[in-house]
Symmetry: C2
């Protein structure tokens, strides 16, 4: 059997402690599978004295991650600290700079510095593995980086934030408000005390930027993502969607178009009978559409200490199975010098169907006016629904829901602006994009 | 850049021709991704003169696969001939015996000889990759063999035969009979002229036997699979299932139980709202339940020249990215000597819910008798439905449908036999097992 693979772990939170426990408990089985033992030789974390329920006595303790990365006797540096900046950034750089492989679950770090780190990895013959950074336990990085080699990818999209999916699922199933479901998510530990990063879509955007680079062979462009969170979604939208045969999900979508690459994170209507519409609660899902393989959808746990640890372990095992210096797996699918510049498509040129919910004064001619504004912008309608609570005209505001055939964001924005200027709207219109899976 | 990876392809049918075309058209892009070119240096097929729409002039033609495997100047032997026996078997053995890696899409070969071939691969330091052999383009082999390293797997199940799923989907959507849908599948090329291998479940069984070995680390036991096809499923079953909140799918299921491993292929009721229930038409899906990661479900194309070629290409690219002699990836997840013996659980001890449809004479006391026979076998019922076409007793046979809570196959068989002996049954009872995904 080959020499043991020596790993150092930086960060002993939920994921780190799970990983230590699993590596210890399954030492023999892993050695059999990998053809060599995996030994944790060094660890670091914020607090040396905290009881994590695991035995660290056989490992060298480092007071900081940089010292571990720079000096420990390790083959792999496992970064589980999180955060786009220090101390993770310098520690990962230090490890790669001396040819030590890096396994990380840190999406923020990769979204901000992924290409620079990939370059460093290539330069020093090290691997940079990060399966756990996107959609937790779902092996989407491996699918894009390995299984789909040779495919040209047209679209990647998915449910990549469990907090948002939990809230949207609960709103629909129990008829509760966004606020009530957010509170419940916080109570269960599915949402942070400050939930903005999840519910405004930033977390999904970080993950999407990594998938975009892998899928299209471009530089990471985490700042060029169109972003809408779910705070604006009401139970009325969810009910209206269901009536029309749709369900609302927060999707991250990266798509190749004639004018560049679209990266969008926003509430999205997906057909009720589609597979992804059935993905409930904190579960994640990622779909990849490619020209040779076709459509691949993967569904699984997107977060949690164990699921994340499993993905990290898979990355470590891949290194253990390869012999040192023996592999060529560029971090983002192709060498950094072969990555293409990222050309952003403007959201205005986005093409697709739209759901538009309008609250209007109950006046003669409103319907005709709306239809005219749509026609003027060459928007054809799949359906128009008026939900009236009152059988006869009462002067109370009415809700009108439009579902458009494929059109452009620009046309929709113009039509909605024109409708707004007519003076019969009550409150703001709600506009939700529709996304259709390629197959069923 | 490293030396080119030289491959020989045996079999130039739909998949083989797709593969040649893709390797030629995407030569540069693949070289960038893999860090070395992939060159087809040798080919063989049944008919040298057939026009396959691809240029074979740069390759050495071999009249038979064995000569190619034994003598060609290749690093990888790609076996796309199919069939459990010759000429595939000897050719693959010959390639492995001289340390040439093998990539194959041949499920029948692996089901029959997988472990022997894996042993040969290990002995000679070669890789045996077979992503395309199970569920076509879905990277389930990679997920089990790599991503889930360290996990203990409890159940693997899935829709692995597109023909059956197409027929069942069409029956439900269009209210047609099994025979009518089979004919349509044959017309569209989704079913063979002799469809028995697909519709009787044998194809699914081959694939399941490979997944079982990978999932549980056991020897392949393709002959120890409980098998029921879909020929017995009527449109009445499908409607009754829908009424009760279920959909019928042909599943292959491998499950660890206290008494051994269950391998079963049979029509299965899955909850309508589950993700796998939404997998329609020729699409495949495989779910893996494991202790660290949780549940992972993958959905994608299970057959077709391109999807299969994509999986084969992924396997070739994995070899191209590794340097010769530099990897340790046992074909079935652990070295052949570390594989456990397969211990078969008897179908009689299977535990789960059951759907039972009985056609009975319209006599007083029948309902009570059925309920009594169930109770005598300690079977508790989730629901009982009587579908009567007639509002009053007419003497016409009635249909009674039972859905049980979790019970054993043995109890159900005893109860059904007891009911049969009562003399009020018309025709044979229909019994369909219920399978529940772990999550939602």
């Amino acid at each position: 059997m080959a020499d043991a693979l020596k790993i150092g772990i930086a960060g002993l939170g939920t994921v780190g402690a799970s990983l230590v426990r699993i590596l210890q408990e399954r030492h023999e089985a892993l050695a059999t599978t990998c053809g060599r033992a995996i030994e944790i030789t060094a660890v670091t974390a914020r607090d040396r004295n905290r009881d994590r329920g695991v035995d660290l006595s056989a490992m060298t303790w480092h007071d900081d991650a940089l010292s571990l990365a720079e000096t420990a006797d390790i083959d792999v540096f496992v970064e589980l600290m999180g955060g786009a900046g220090e101390p993770a950034l310098s520690a990962v750089k230090a490890a790669l700079s001396r040819g030590v492989h890096v396994v990380t679950a840190n999406k923020a770090l990769l979204a901000a510095h992924g290409i620079a780190l990939a370059g460093l990895a290539e330069e020093h013959g090290a691997l940079l593995n990060y399966e756990a950074a996107v959609a937790g336990g779902i092996p989407v990085i491996k699918a894009l980086r390995e299984s789909l080699t040779g495919n040209t990818i047209s679209r990647v999209y998915g449910i990549m934030n469990g907090t948002c999916n939990y809230i949207l699922t609960k709103m629909e199933k129990e008829g509760l408000s966004f606020e009530a479901c957010l509170k419940e998510a916080q109570r269960l530990g599915y949402a942070e005390a400050d939930p903005a990063f999840d519910i405004e879509g930033n977390d999904t955007a970080h993950k999407l930027s990594i998938l975009t680079s892998l899928a299209f062979g471009t530089a990471i462009a985490a700042d060029d993502i169109y972003l809408e969170g779910i705070t604006n979604i009401s139970i009325d939208d969810i009910h209206a969607a269901a009536d029309l045969g749709y369900r609302i999900k927060l999707l991250g979508v990266a798509q190749r178009t004639d004018s560049g690459i679209e990266q969008r994170v926003h509430p999205t209507m997906v057909p009720l009978e589609s597979v992804i519409a059935q993905v409930d609660g904190v579960t994640n899902a990622v779909a990849i559409e490619s020209d040779i393989l076709g459509e691949l959808l993967m569904v699984g746990p997107g977060a949690g200490g164990n699921a994340t640890a499993s993905a990290v372990l898979g990355d470590i095992a891949d290194i253990a199975k390869s012999r040192p210096g023996a592999q060529h797996v560029p971090a983002f699918g192709r060498p950094v010098t072969a990555l293409l510049p990222y050309k952003q498509a403007q959201i205005q040129s986005h093409e697709g169907g739209y759901f538009i919910r309008l609250k209007v004064l109950d006046k003669t001619g409103v319907f005709a006016s709306i239809a005219t504004r749509m026609a003027e912008n060459r928007i054809s309608l799949e359906s128009i629904v008026q939900h009236s609570k009152h059988p006869v005209e009462t002067g109370e505001p009415q809700t009108i829901i439009l579902v458009t055939h494929a059109t452009t964001e620009e046309s929709v924005r113009k039509a909605v602006a024109a409708i707004k200027s007519e003076g019969y709207l009550v409150g703001d219109p709600q506009v939700i994009r529709i996304e259709r899976p390629k197959t069923a």
